[in-house]
Symmetry: C2
Subunit: 186 residues, 2 copies
DNA sequence: AGCCTATGTTCGATTTTTGAACATAGGCTT
DNA sequence: AAGCCTATGTTCAAAAATCGAACATAGGCT
């Protein structure tokens, strides 16, 4: 099944997202933009947040696919910020929309994906528990989230945040810290 | 009904047409390119010629829509040749394909559309019979066809055929000739 | 308070897509 | 020339997707 309708819904949504804030986009807008029945929207997605969620996940996966060489935290940060830059307008509109949670979902989820991919490598031979691994993902993704958040707040003027390097240095220590702590517990 | 599948089939076909000659394009190629079931192709189109036919008609209509000011034969020739230029690769591949009829269909049909549109204006107040009108369409479209044919044979090097003006002059006399002949018969 | 618009849900009818099977035709190989 | 292989075109029924209509609800605006 090719599901061109579902694809068209996503394309219309992203298109509208680059025209106006998320809060101003209605289901009606979307279905009118791609010329389908309103019920066809609800057939594919529960609501707009679900649609957004799927797009985020997809874009993150796609981003990761295009960077199969992610094997360092620096690379992870780079990929995450590059994604934010490329989707500047969409991120910006979501950030400006009424429901701030949306924005957090958007960036956080991306960071989680990228960071998780990195940590797969970092923890490959370390023999760490699932709990410790998840803690590391939370810590690092929160750090990245803070970085992007500040960058957005500063007006996104610089093509790439100047303090990326410093954040990388800080994050780099986290997995090692987790591994060390794990050793002490065993 | 939005019919995204039908649209995707056309897009895949045009895409393939710009990659290889028509004769080398199979239904399998098309359905694989857009990831649908082979039967879905046959649901929308009888076969590849029918698909081609629909695309030709559509593109011609669209072309005419974008030139609502067609009111002279010069304009008609210009539109026809511009279409051929813009679809250079597709026309070229069709022209080179085994079944030469395909090529003729392609260009002729376009010419007929544009010329018919022009003649609507030319014969508006002339009170000519349907037979005479159709004769005029045949004459003028054959002239245009010859022009494009030669242009293709010459290697399509010039951005626009140099002798357009001369062909226009020749064609311009045809409707008047028809009208005059019609007067004599009545 | 009343109006208006968007949401989300239900329903059944209709259209579209799919997979599998089959017969056929043409190209290629040996 | 016979056999193999692939693409064609057709059929059938199951499954999936789309549609239009109706309804109750919630929130914004006057």
């Amino acid at each position: 099944m090719a599901n061109f309708t579902k694809k068209a819904i996503k394309e219309s949504f992203v298109k509208l997202l680059n025209e106006k804030p998320l809060a101003k986009i209605s289901v009606k807008d979307i279905v009118e933009d791609c010329g389908i029945n309103r019920n066809s929207f609800y057939y594919h997605f529960q609501d707009i947040p679900a649609l957004l969620e799927e797009i985020i996940t997809e874009q993150a996966e796609e981003l990761i696919e295009n960077y199969p060489e992610i094997e360092s935290l620096e690379k992870g940060v780079e990929v995450a910020t590059q994604f934010a830059i490329e989707n500047k307008m969409a991120v910006f509109h979501i950030y400006n929309s009424v429901n701030r949670d949306m924005y957090e979902q958007y960036t956080m989820r991306l960071c989680r994906h990228v960071v998780a991919r990195y940590l797969e490598v970092a923890f490959k031979d370390a023999n760490v528990s699932r709990e410790d691994s998840e803690l590391a993902v939370r810590l690092v993704s929160c750090a990245l989230f803070g970085l992007v958040y500040d960058w957005l707040n500063s007006g996104m003027n610089e093509e790439r945040p100047a303090d990326i390097k410093r954040v990388c240095e800080l994050c780099k220590g986290i997995p090692e810290m987790i591994i060390e702590r794990s050793r002490l517990n065993n």
